[in-house]
Assembly symmetry: D5
Amino acid sequence: MPLPEIPLITEKLLAAKKAKGLSFVDLEQIVGRDEVWLAAVFYRQASASEEEANKIVTALGLDASVIKELMSYPAKGLGDVVPTDPLIYRFYEIMQVYGMPIKEIIHEKFGDGIMSAIDFTLDIEKEEDPKGDRVKVIMNGKFLPYKKW
Amino acid sequence: MPLPEIPLITEKLLAAKKAKGLSFVDLEQIVGRDEVWLAAVFYRQASASEEEANKIVTALGLDASVIKELMSYPAKGLGDVVPTDPLIYRFYEIMQVYGMPIKEIIHEKFGDGIMSAIDFTLDIEKEEDPKGDRVKVIMNGKFLPYKKW
Amino acid sequence: MPLPEIPLITEKLLAAKKAKGLSFVDLEQIVGRDEVWLAAVFYRQASASEEEANKIVTALGLDASVIKELMSYPAKGLGDVVPTDPLIYRFYEIMQVYGMPIKEIIHEKFGDGIMSAIDFTLDIEKEEDPKGDRVKVIMNGKFLPYKKW
Amino acid sequence: MPLPEIPLITEKLLAAKKAKGLSFVDLEQIVGRDEVWLAAVFYRQASASEEEANKIVTALGLDASVIKELMSYPAKGLGDVVPTDPLIYRFYEIMQVYGMPIKEIIHEKFGDGIMSAIDFTLDIEKEEDPKGDRVKVIMNGKFLPYKKW
Amino acid sequence: MPLPEIPLITEKLLAAKKAKGLSFVDLEQIVGRDEVWLAAVFYRQASASEEEANKIVTALGLDASVIKELMSYPAKGLGDVVPTDPLIYRFYEIMQVYGMPIKEIIHEKFGDGIMSAIDFTLDIEKEEDPKGDRVKVIMNGKFLPYKKW
Amino acid sequence: MPLPEIPLITEKLLAAKKAKGLSFVDLEQIVGRDEVWLAAVFYRQASASEEEANKIVTALGLDASVIKELMSYPAKGLGDVVPTDPLIYRFYEIMQVYGMPIKEIIHEKFGDGIMSAIDFTLDIEKEEDPKGDRVKVIMNGKFLPYKKW
Amino acid sequence: MPLPEIPLITEKLLAAKKAKGLSFVDLEQIVGRDEVWLAAVFYRQASASEEEANKIVTALGLDASVIKELMSYPAKGLGDVVPTDPLIYRFYEIMQVYGMPIKEIIHEKFGDGIMSAIDFTLDIEKEEDPKGDRVKVIMNGKFLPYKKW
Amino acid sequence: MPLPEIPLITEKLLAAKKAKGLSFVDLEQIVGRDEVWLAAVFYRQASASEEEANKIVTALGLDASVIKELMSYPAKGLGDVVPTDPLIYRFYEIMQVYGMPIKEIIHEKFGDGIMSAIDFTLDIEKEEDPKGDRVKVIMNGKFLPYKKW
Amino acid sequence: MPLPEIPLITEKLLAAKKAKGLSFVDLEQIVGRDEVWLAAVFYRQASASEEEANKIVTALGLDASVIKELMSYPAKGLGDVVPTDPLIYRFYEIMQVYGMPIKEIIHEKFGDGIMSAIDFTLDIEKEEDPKGDRVKVIMNGKFLPYKKW
Amino acid sequence: MPLPEIPLITEKLLAAKKAKGLSFVDLEQIVGRDEVWLAAVFYRQASASEEEANKIVTALGLDASVIKELMSYPAKGLGDVVPTDPLIYRFYEIMQVYGMPIKEIIHEKFGDGIMSAIDFTLDIEKEEDPKGDRVKVIMNGKFLPYKKW
């Protein structure tokens, strides 16, 4: 279970972003897409349209060959069964600890089915708090009821 | 990797709840705690105070011996490395697909550290939508910066 | 990686079905649902409505307490990372061998997204053939495009 | 469990196909073989005859040395025990959720044996639907009864 | 990875066989099936016809309820990813050490395809040898060429 | 669990063999060793004597530096816990399905001990059959009784 | 990876031995077999002859039904991929750390082949030492050269 | 679980040793350390003092830069959970089969504690035997009693 | 990877301790051993002397048969490869994140060797702090230098 | 489970440190941070501020490009599920053997919650002792009580 390898294209994009002094919030302004989704494009977990890819490439000053790469559909995922990075692991832990309770509540509210991870958005907000700032992660997925046949 | 086994106490609590015709939202009213947290107590992933346990046991019509059990601290977790239940798996998938993008954005917003899964709350809301209702999961955890020494 | 354990309720249902001399096709007639879906209810991978559960229980001559069980939502899955049963393994092998080709073709036909395994049906047909009968498995799932945000 | 690595030859074939602006359906016309089977050849999960390899290489404008490679028999499979790519994972999930029900139905219809994954074809069709297009995957494998001796 | 658990029915069959003082070769005479196949029936890896089950049950002096069990189709396999029993491990080792050479030779002799493990027989012979007796295992499986489509 | 990696020396040997148009049966004639054993030498699972290595290198027209490599003893095995290649997997399946029955029969015939995988030969024969040719794999290993002390 | 489960028969034997106040060295005198081999019989990793089983059963004051059990051949091994018990783990660590060096030296001294773990004895001696007593483990296995064919 | 990778420095050392025609026994004479320990230094599982490293490097005719490398402390181990090499596997098997018996005997002789794998030596001897030479592996580790506090 | 199972004896000891209203600190006074070591005895990870076992059993009001059990040496460990309990996982995370840095510093301070986990003590202290109390874990193990031979 | 790979930047830093003849204690003086934390920066498990990175780079005589790297936040962890290096393994073993006892004591002292591994320091001290020096590892983490909601 090796650490997740970062694709070359991701390193290139992150380096260009650092060189340009741009944050993902800046890119949000430029591309018109959420910062998390944009980071997902950088890590090749999401695919950009030609227009979106164009804006990203222009903003970062990269050459046009990158556009095609941002539009492709590589295999997704971390490639790390149980993540060892502490930040990412906490999401694994939430699934371990709150998985069954979440299942119970969703079934009670919606019946048999799941929350889609495809028709899905994820936002991250910073909530300032004098006792220590808080990270707010808002997941929003379509409920998909099981089809019967 | 067998399926997660449900503890006997959980089955007992769920059966009593069903017999009483109570939803977790009803229990939320009675105990004064969120429905997700209550489901976590049912699955022995969270521990109740004596007062909270008392209210739960009274509402469900169970005998007093259950109180002590709800106040204890068993080992937590699903015991299922990669969950096979489709609803729970989607949270594993979100971690696989969006883990690195989330890491990137949190570090950009907060610096080095993590979102706590302990000083943490999780809410589930039903968002009605004519194109299909949506599940909203709101996670809220304290940002913990890495201490240097 | 132990062999998948069959739940007690499943054994009870299969025994009653055998005792009554009913095939799943017979049950298809009685309940008005596909035989594969019915077998999934037997193995607690799908949940019946009260009406469906009623019909199943009546047909099998079981007592009414089974109805509630067929309407519940247990954790799904085999609980067997790589299945060792040869018949089930072949589906794992198809995923191993044809996974990337299928991904390639679906992306070419539909763009970025997945075939839903929830808004999904699965039929099994017997195709008679003098050189040896053939098993036809027809999967039909809604295409879910990745949402951007 | 690293992500599946794409062989160099596959990358070369996909790049040439993109450069020529050919879809797999176009190749189906040219080679006289199904698009899924052709994608399987690209991913080195199937082996072409000399004639088929010739047609592919000519269509893609690659040099003749590729022909021998397309005719060889490398080790097959993804090399990813539980796939993390969401599209491919859904097929793993179908095996997890519907594995035992499928086994039950096939045994009821055919007796003891399996569906071959070798004497086997797999087709993917796009079913247009106003509520969202559907992916249809048709598997067709010879039933192989267990030999007794 | 626990040791393979022996099903209750297997223990019952083996105990009756020991009590009757029968060897598998004796059963071979009685049932008219090979000793290895019979041992596979005992371990519920193969299914008997009603006639075969009858002969086995009569020979062992068991009651008729066992007949149905021997005719059923339980999930197959050891349930032990890498077997720790030295005798069984040697077959795992043969696959590890000679897997690729066997693949090379079969492809050279037959083209792309596999040896069936379903249309398959396995015999074990004792070869007496002054330097130490030898175990001869003869596997005989139909060659299944990959279908193209 | 990545796919087995083929050592560079193996690729070199296979390429030279293909270039010379030699089959393993041809090499059997030249070297005086069985084709399976020769393929095992190619995959570095068996070690040649100087004389054997010499004959192989001469037949393939490779330079003398290869001789030393064929005489060395690298770590053996596929490096693939559960093989995903369908041809090799069938041998894993045979071990899963017939492992305990084989153990039972060998113990009945020989007492406590194992079949050696070292003092061992493996032959592959093609059995022509109008209903489909058959692969015959003959394993022959010395029985090793457990020593007591 | 659960802890190794101790078979019931082992618990019975150990309890009887403790009740009789016998050490394994005492049993060595009684049975005429080494203490390690006797412990292996207790843990059902070795099989006794009728005579040996008789002596053990008599010495421990157990009833005759135990004799047959000690003569049987259950599946061997710990059933614990990486042992967590510190004493047993050290042997795993020795294999991890000294595995390749041992391989190198054995090949240099003997050529290609292995040390048998079947035609094999293992003794444990206590070496008194003022700086702390030492455990001496002496393994003695027949060298088995790889057969060529 | 890929095969153990041999570090570059190990290959360099082994190649130089072969070129010089030295055996590990020869090196034992030159360095004044046991052959197994020396092989462990080659595989970077043990660290040499400056004087020892000097002698090795001089004997092999390598340049002085190698000295520092032989004195460093890299991470130890095979990196192969269950070794597939048959020679190394036999040591894994001995741990699987004799692990609990060894634990039993050591506890009986020494009380609670372990055999150290650090304050530890390992010797390999060739025992000539007309029925086949034998490998003798002598492990000698300090007994470490569990400290109480 | 199921959750760690708590042995029956542990449950009995913990229940008796709760019934008597004793803390581990109270037991520390009674037995004259550290609270962590005592908890390790409860979880059967450490073995008591007859005198210590006597004191524990008397304090808890259990019957004398428990004494022998507390003096025995069962297999140690959690039996959970990667622990899912958040409290225990943090120690796994510390090993993941600080493992190599700790190795570096210990080698710099002590040379090649390890910190013993056998000749070892572990204390837990509560450090009051207005910003949140702190847990102090003090590990103290003998340095064991690698023996050369 | 391959051995942990050391990042290139780590090798560069360690080589420069060795060339300068600096110990981590020397760096502690120069940077004003603990030696363990500094080793964690070297292994890219902790991130330096610009000022700290500057001091490190200057002390080691490296060029300024390294500063940015030391300030970045790569994925953390060993990437080795069960570590095979004996020194690191001992910390895994401590978690296996003392995990539940530690959990018991922390819950008794603090209630439900965990010791933070983020708001956390770790010190290593050498305790001289005539019977053998001792390694003292002091972990100090904030207690985080589970939040209720």
